[in-house]
């Protein structure tokens, strides 16, 4: 075992050396031109399948392949959960793709610690024009120990409170302005046989979005920042206990649809509950908009869907402008890839991923691009939603990354596991805090 560790390390050293050489070569030729008489190396790219993103991911690769027939990128797409396993196994076995698609944060840090991804800090300083095209707030989750290891791509995705306007009219109530309003709405919807909130509880990270907002509105962003920084017993803050108790109260009050424990987000069943009128509200990522447009018939078109930032909690210390979600998606370059493949990837980063077609493509997908100056592109049916998302993202005092993405996979699994038990009332708030304190900094 020690032998294999050694050989791995030696291999890593070699790979890092090759990467360094590649960077030097790139400096020498001033600009991302392909080496060896126009015939660059082929590169591979793995990402997520399904709507709304896959067509635009494929389009960017097609554009690049058309412009660079000598250095083709081959793309493979996987379903969300399958991808998370596949990429881990592939990287562990040294069979990963050239370009690793991810969510930044703790997952990226694990790759960095294992020496799997290339440091892009120098590349970004040499290609300042590329860096300048991307929202600066999106670089936070791409940065580990002060160095940039990934390029922010695709869209900024704040999590918002969606609601079914038709149901609100039917019951004769107004969208909630505060957490107190939410509590008032729960019995009103339940009385009409409508679930107040849709929730895909089996997916677990869906439940987590509730905790993120409840804690932030309650106590601001300090508590989780301390957890993220690895300060011992950070979860023991009284605000956490208060938040957990509130969440369990919601469960006890039947705020969430019956059977939420077995609903999965991958099948979009939680969103179906909202647009089919079985549930009145749903806390979900902004990407859900595109899914509801695509699958909800004329629900969105006919003005059935409403959205807002999560309302403030009465007496809470958190800034109501704060939001949580994905400050972007991230693409890293594998340090095990050949230098030629790495060059191809960098060229892809500097061209197709930041061009205007890319920007308008992601707007068309129903998202706010990580690329700057996209507001002028917000036209047509989705304009209002996109403007609102853009304003939530840009006006947020703190745009926090989703907890499970920010933490290491080990801590994230304990977090998600305990969140599922919390919603199932299988653990008390205090047990939850104790369990989570146990994995701080791991």
């Amino acid at each position: 075992m020690s032998n294999s560790a050694l050989s791995r390390r030696r291999f890593l050293g070699l790979a890092a050396g090759a990467a360094g050489a590649a960077t030097l070569a790139a400096c020498g030729s001033s600009g991302p031109s392909s080496s060896g008489g126009g015939g660059g190396a082929a590169a591979s790219y793995w990402s997520l399948s399904g709507p709304p993103g896959q067509p635009y991911r494929q389009a960017a690769i097609d554009r690049f392949n058309k412009a660079n027939p000598g250095s083709k990128i081959t793309a493979t797409f996987y379903q969300n959960d399958a991808y998370k396993q596949k990429i881990k196994t592939a990287l562990g076995a040294g069979q990963g793709p050239t370009m690793i698609w991810g969510w930044g944060g703790g997952g990226l840090k694990a790759y960095v610690d294992a020496g799997q991804v290339v440091d892009l800090t120098d590349w970004f300083s040499q290609n300042a024009a590329v860096k300048d095209k991307i929202l600066p707030s999106s670089f936070g989750a791409a940065t580990v120990n002060g160095k940039i290891y990934a390029m922010p791509i695709e869209t900024v995705q704040p999590i918002v409170l969606f609601y079914n306007k038709k149901l609100f009219d039917q019951v004769g109530v107004q969208p909630p302005q505060s957490y107190g309003d939410i509590l008032d709405l729960i019995p009103k919807f339940n009385a009409k046989g409508i679930a107040p909130f849709s929730l895909a509880g089996q997916s677990r990270w869906t439940n987590m979005m509730w905790l993120e907002f409840m804690l932030d509105r309650n106590a601001g962003s300090d508590v989780f920042n301390n957890v993220f920084a690895g300060k011992p017993n950070s979860w023991s803050d009284p605000a956490v206990l208060d938040m957990l108790t509130k969440v369990q109260d919601l469960v006890k009050k039947n705020a969430f649809i019956k059977g939420f424990e077995s609903i999965t987000a991958d099948s979009n069943a939680d969103q179906a509950l909202l647009y089919t009128g079985k549930a009145a509200m749903m806390v979900h990522g902004s990407w859900s908009y595109g899914i509801q447009v695509a699958q909800g018939g004329d629900f969105v078109k006919s003005g059935g869907l409403g959205w807002m930032n999560f309302p403030p909690i009465d007496g809470g210390k958190g800034d109501p402008s704060n939001t949580v979600g994905n400050p972007g998606q991230y693409l890293s370059i594998s340090s095990k890839a050949s230098s030629g493949a790495q060059d191809t990837a960098k060229k892809f980063f500097g061209t197709s991923l930041v061009d205007d077609t890319e920007k308008s493509g992601w707007v068309k997908s129903g998202g706010v691009p990580v690329l700057k100056d996209s507001d002028s592109l917000f036209t047509g049916d989705d304009a209002q939603f996109l403007k609102d998302m853009s304003s939530i993202a840009s006006k947020a005092k703190v745009f926090a990354q989703s907890w499970d993405q920010a933490l290491s996979p080990t801590a994230a699994e304990t977090l998600l596991d305990n969140i599922a038990k919390l919603f199932q009332l299988q653990v008390s708030p205090q047990q939850w805090v104790d369990a989570l304190n146990g994995v701080i900094g791991k």
């Binding site: 694990a110 610690d113 019956k258 059977g259 424990e261 077995s262 996979p409 699994e413 599922a420 299988q426």
Partner: protein, 305 residues
């Protein structure tokens, strides 16, 4: 005389050796498969359980750290208990039904071929497909209950711990009862008809025949089928993973699922390997116990025939 004996022995020896080597040669493919896909990975997992590895970085030996981590986790006894529950309940449900259907099919000659094919169908489907189908069918909001307007079907099937366990056992039984019925059918048909004829002359009825002849005669089949059920239930993974993901909470998180979550979700390959070794140990011990329950393999079931 003495000069003659050695050639005779020499003549005999090659045939004996030849016979044995023939047998060895026939066992070779199975042995090689077992070595390559059973034993080698097993040794790999055993070695991994004494290391710390996150699945992507370097593997570092760490002595008993992973074992301590795995054994001190209170999820382990819980997962063991859930595994045992699934095993025991599904055995209790499957065995009587399988024996009855098997006996019935053995006697029911007319549609035997057709029924045998029909019964085999659930076994041909993949567990994942079965799980997805059942999950959709029993969905409290979009499933068969609300579709047909049948209220008692609108239970929170996979959201209540007890119901979820029940659904799990039901689906397992639905999938495997046909298989075990076929085994029992074969066993019942092997019972000599003369036993039944003799008992008939002695005035035994159908019930008496079943308990005094059929059941004792299929004893070894019961043990074979139980071994398959018990050891098989240790490896239920795809079914649970797709159906409940171990939920609600951790109510259906069996050992195999616990191992997966440790290894591939939490990136703790060392403790996951330790759990895998525990899984292997439990499987081997259970298989041994069931073999012992069968008694000595050389006793005859046809005494007095």
């Amino acid at each position: 005389m003495t000069a003659l004996a050695p050639p005779a022995a020499r003549v005999k020896a090659p045939t004996a050796r030849g016979g044995r080597s023939g047998v060895t040669w026939m066992a070779l493919p199975a042995l090689l498969m077992f070595l390559a896909f059973g034993l080698v990975p097993l040794i790999g997992v055993l070695l991994l359980s004494f290391t710390t590895w996150d699945g992507i970085g370097p593997i570092t030996p760490s002595g008993l750290t992973s074992w301590r981590n795995a054994l001190s986790d209170r999820e382990l006894p819980h997962a063991l208990w859930v595994t045992f529950e699934i095993m025991a309940i599904s055995w209790l449900v499957q065995t009587p039904i399988s024996i009855l259907i098997g006996t019935f099919m053995a006697a029911f000659k007319r549609y035997r071929g057709f029924l045998a094919v029909l019964y085999f169908i659930p076994l041909l489907l993949s567990s994942a497909a079965i799980s997805i189908t059942f999950k959709a069918l029993i969905d409290p909001n979009f499933g068969i209950g609300s579709g047909l307007g049948v209220d008692w079907l609108k239970q929170n099937w996979l959201g209540e711990p007890k119901l979820a366990m029940g659904v799990l056992v039901f689906i397992v039984s639905w999938q495997y009862i046909p298989f075990h019925s076929l085994i029992y059918q074969g066993a019942v048909r092997q019972i000599p008809a003369s036993l039944y004829e003799a008992s008939k002359i002695d005035g035994a009825g159908g019930m008496r025949q079943f308990f005094s002849i059929t059941l004792p005669q299929i004893k070894y089949t019961i043990i074979t089928s139980s071994t398959l059920m018990v050891v098989g239930s240790l490896t239920f993974f795809d079914l649970i993973y797709v159906l409940t993901g171990g939920g609600p909470g951790d109510s259906t998180r069996a050992l195999a699922l616990e191992m997966y979550q440790k290894g591939f979700m939490a990136n703790l390959m060392g403790p996951a390997s330790a759990i895998a070794m525990i899984l292997v140990l439990v499987g081997v011990i259970l298989a041994q116990i069931l073999r012992r329950l069968g008694g000595r393999g050389d006793e005859s079931q046809l005494e007095g025939m």
